[in-house]
């Protein structure tokens, strides 16, 4: 159970960081 929580949190946080970076790249690009 503890393993599942740690793995899910790590995956979720990483994906969130990646999508923020992707959003920032996209925002700084012309429409």
């Amino acid at each position: 159970m503890q393993l599942a929580i740690v793995v899910s949190t790590t995956v979720a946080v990483t994906i969130a960081i990646v999508f923020v970076i992707g959003y920032l790249i996209d925002k700084n690009t012309e429409a």
Binding site: V7, T10, V11, T14, I15, G22, T29
Partner: protein
């Protein structure tokens, strides 16, 4: 072994790419700035990307060579580890420089303006990577140089095997096992039961980010979805690059934790060959004129279609041989 070429052979050949290639790319970058030439800047950034890409087989053939060398009693693990740690550091710097070089090229393709901050960071990283690769090369040379040892060791000198690996005038470096070393990182991955499953989950998420975008973009290059101009789909490429970044980090986690599963694995060799094909193709579809000028309603020319097909085949190859690691190769 393939056609008489062993993994250590391959490493001795490929290790020149980050050292000599990295120096050449850095020199080009500096000349491009001095001459304020946009064409030279583009070529220099392309060279930085290509060198970073081919640092993969250079580094990974070292992982394979290590497996062979450590079976030899006369080879000092301390020297191998010192070289490995320096190589890992160089690899990270090279990949950061290569990723940002790609981003700068992608932005320039879209706006014809250079992102100054990004390029400055690429230059700084390239200088650091050059210094790191020179140090890595020197430490690699220390692993085994019988011609130097022959001149130093007096006839009849009863040196211990471990000492025999030490180069002239140098004592063997201490075995460093801190958390920022290859062996230390590998151990900390294996000691924590969540790192491998989390990396595995992220590796698959990275995979669908790459394949999803690559499929859409390259189907257009093959002539599908003709209403959409290529420049519109080109905007999606950074998402594929981010997926690739996730997979480089997680993939290197696996290799660092269990180098013996990858170093001499035939399926892994093919995975890296397909990765090189896909990586070169990614540069082509990011910056070259052919794909960029595929307008709305246009059927792409043959060379562009070939590039589109190559990308899809390349990434499917990477995925296939990754999945086949335990079946065609010796992993797990």
């Amino acid at each position: 072994m393939m056609m008489g070429i062993t993994v250590p052979h391959l490493h001795l050949l490929l290790n020149h790419i980050p050292t000599v290639g990295g120096a050449a790319a850095l020199l080009l970058l500096l000349v491009a700035f001095a001459r304020k030439s946009n064409d030279l800047k583009r070529i220099a950034l392309e060279a930085t990307y290509i060198v970073a890409l081919f640092t993969f087989p250079s580094y990974l053939s070292g992982v394979g060579a290590q497996q062979t060398l450590l079976k030899m009693p006369e080879i000092s693990q301390a020297f191998v580890d010192a070289h490995w740690n320096a190589a890992l550091f160089t690899f990270v710097l090279m990949q950061l420089a290569g990723s940002l070089a790609w981003l700068a090229l992608w932005k320039y393709r879209r706006s014809s303006q250079w992102p100054t901050t990004t390029i400055t960071v690429v230059v700084v990283l390239s200088v650091l990577a050059f210094a790191a690769s020179a140090r890595t090369a020197a430490l690699g040379g220390d692993i085994r140089h019988p011609e130097i040892l022959a001149q130093v060791a007096a006839p009849g000198d009863a040196a211990a095997p471990a000492d025999a690996a030490a180069p002239a005038g140098e004592a063997a470096p201490p075995v460093v096992a801190g958390s920022l070393t290859g062996r230390g990182l590998g151990r900390s991955v294996m000691d924590r039961n969540w790192v491998w499953p989390a990396s595995e989950a992220l590796h698959f998420i990275g995979l669908w980010m790459i394949l999803g975008i690559i499929l859409i973009v390259n189907l257009r290059l093959l002539g599908f979805m003709r209403a959409v101009p290529y420049s519109a789909l080109h905007r999606l490429l950074p998402w594929a690059a981010l997926g690739l970044l996730i997979n480089v980090v997680t993939g290197m986690t696996f290799v660092t934790a269990t180098p013996d599963q990858y170093g001499e694995n035939i399926s892994f060799l093919w995975k890296i060959i397909f990765l090189m094909i896909a990586g070169v193709d990614l540069l082509y579809i990011t910056v070259f004129e052919g794909p960029w000028h595929v307008e709305s309603g246009q059927n792409p020319p043959l060379r562009v279609k070939i590039a589109g097909a190559t990308a899809i085949i390349g990434w499917v190859g990477v995925m296939y041989f990754g999945r086949m690691l335990p079946f065609l190769g010796n992993a797990f």
